[in-house]
């Protein structure tokens, strides 16, 4: 899941022909000022922080300016922000337009019907989650013939567009449909889509690219995301690793089992801090690597939950013991292991020899790790 910042989403929109306001990206106040001085961005203009979090308008991350000096000052202020935990690295400058109505258009996936879904609403400019279902028109688009003319006409109708504006929508939807498919997007969203005179202009851009199609899109591999630094490392190592708010690290094999382990911990009063799914790996080196990554998250305690089905418990245990030896004593943490399945006895023995207690009951082991996490804190900080 690669969430693109507004300006990157708009670069994609431009490539496929979605109409945009005149705009430029700036990485410094001086650059921002230059874009208006050289006429690249007309005045008055809007200056927007390029962050992934929503709610920029209310958070002071969007400002307006009428003169080059105001542009510089606004850019300076925004570039100094840390917005909902994200440092602002770029601002997008765009000429202000005489906006009529604000609409909503998006293409996403309908998982149940297994088709792309075109969403339109005449209530644009607000978070779509706050719009009533009845005010959103949903049209499934069959992937084979693709977006049909009659579907675009229905979209026009739903948005109350006629004449030239309806034709503009038709072209815009074609562009959006192409972008959705050619860029392997999960979501392409324009909110608001502004009616400007007889035309349409995308005032914002939300584009999410699918991770699994990365082999077709090397151009997205370098784009920063809302992943944490550790999640970023995990991604490069192809480990399913998610940082959460708690302090107990969970390693399990299989996404379902890892999720279930978090659930059990929560039920017994624990606070999961890391979700780490080993997947189907058998390889002690890989297990070891995953475990060292976990250590970097500085958990108060770690819970290893393995069901050896396709994988073998003993190889997982071997990797684990190898990794434990590499963790500096100051960074060590209590470890509770629960191992079931293939070569369970051998796995438990390997852990026992390394001084790690392994239980076979999920309930007991969960209770035990929750107790451990409530003990004295380790040398470092929280997970």
């Amino acid at each position: 899941m690669v969430k693109l910042a507004e300006w990157r989403g708009k670069e994609i929109f431009r490539k496929y022909g979605v109409p945009l306001p005149p705009g430029r990206v700036a990485r410094s106040p001086a650059e921002a000022e230059q874009w208006v001085r050289d006429g690249s961005v007309p005045l008055p203009c809007v200056i927007k922080a390029q962050v992934l979090a929503g709610g920029r308008g209310k958070g002071g991350a969007v400002r307006f300016a009428n003169t080059p000096e105001e542009v510089r000052a606004a850019a300076e202020a925004i570039l100094a922000l840390e917005f909902k935990g994200e440092r602002v690295r770029e601002v997008l400058l765009e000429g202000k337009l005489a906006i009529g109505r604000e609409l909503y258009v998006a293409i996403t996936l309908d998982r149940s019907a297994r088709v792309p879904l075109l969403l339109t609403s005449s209530q644009g400019g607000v978070e779509i989650e706050t719009v009533e279902d009845s005010a959103i028109v949903r049209q499934p688009i069959h992937p084979f013939p693709g977006l049909a003319g009659y579907e675009k006409r229905r979209a026009s109708q739903s948005l109350g567009l006629t004449g030239a504006a309806s034709k503009a929508l038709s072209l815009l939807l074609d562009a959006l449909w192409k972008a959705f498919n050619a860029e392997d997007a999960e979501l392409v969203e324009i909110n608001p889509l502004a009616v400007v005179g007889e035309g349409l202009v995308a005032l914002d851009a939300k584009v999410i690219i699918e991770d699994d199609a990365a082999f077709r899109h090397p151009e997205y591999s370098e784009i920063r995301d809302d992943r944490t630094p550790l999640e970023e490392i995990a991604r490069e190592k192809e480990i399913a690793f998610v940082q959460l708010d708690g302090n107990i690290g969970v390693i399990a094999n299989g996404a379902g089992l890892t999720m279930a382990t978090l659930d059990v911990l929560m039920e017994f009063g624990g606070h999961p801090g890391v979700f780490l799914d080993l997947g189907g790996t058998d390889d002690p080196a890989k297990v070891s690597e995953a475990f060292l990554l976990m250590a970097q998250a500085r958990p108060r305690a770690v819970f290893l939950n393995i069901f050896g089905g396709v994988t073998r418990c003993d190889t997982v245990a071997t990797g684990l013991v190898q990794a434990m030896g590499q963790i500096p004593p100051a960074e060590r943490f209590p470890l509770v292991a629960r191992i079931r399945g293939n070569n369970e006895v051998e796995g438990i023995e390997i852990l026992r020899k390394a001084g790690i207690t392994a239980l076979s009951s999920l309930k007991e082991s969960a209770q035990s790790v929750v107790a451990a996490a409530q003990g004295p804190p380790p040398a470092g900080g929280r997970a």
């Binding site: 991770d211 379902g256 999961p272 089905g309």
Partner: protein
Amino acid sequence: MSVLVDVDTRVVVQGITGHQGSGHTLQMKLFGTKVVAGVTPGRAGTQVEGVPVFDSVQEAVDRTGANASCIFVPAPFAKDALLEAVDAGIRLVVIVTEHIPFHDMLIMYHYAKERGTRIVGPNCPGVASPGKAKVGIIPNVVFRPGRVGVISRSGTLTYEIVNGIRENGLGQSTCIGLGGDPVVGTSFVDALPWFENDPDTDLLVLVGEIGGTAEEDAAEYIRQHFTKPVVAYIAGRAAPAGKRMGHAGAIISRGKGTAQSKQAALEAAGARVGRFPFEIPDLVSEVLRERGRR
């Protein structure tokens, strides 16, 4: 009778010469499955675990009568492997491969559906019916023949639950792992009628997880059409919104796909929903006892 696979299932393994392909070919054979062919382009004439390898699925079908396929090829080639299987007339394709772009799966799904081929997966453990056949990678040891049906979106968690059912002295009719991707060939709603109509299934275990509305759709189907008892478990109550929890499909987005919503829907449809995975085998035994089936 059983669901999707039976003693007439003849499996071709696409990508048989890879590490996963060859290892699971052996496991499928040990399960008792008729693995009749493998396909790896350029490796025709060789054998893997005693199974003859062909250059194309069509050749495999022509020479061995294969009617089901198990796909292990890497994600960038999975779409092609599926098209090849469908065009060769294969009726059931289990796709084990993970990380297939969902845009590819959209094409694969509709192409297969319009030609009457059933896809299970991708990113799934497959289908197994103890004593009959297994197409996929569910570990053999967790099974024993019986009358509990299982449909699940996860892998290891399902193995654990299925194993628990076995340890409680019961067995399984058919177990289907649907896979954890956002676009899957077979959903709960697709599979429920098969178990409803399967005379060998007395009770159904449904293992869901966060993301999408497949469990809510299933609950609606159960409420309206499913007459057998259902025991369910939903993983991901502790998952925050907006994060993918291991599976590409396991994400709460835009307020949709929470475990709470799924549990509530299933309970309203009359299913017994367990809070812990280890409760499920006991709930199964309990419900069957209540119904006098045990």
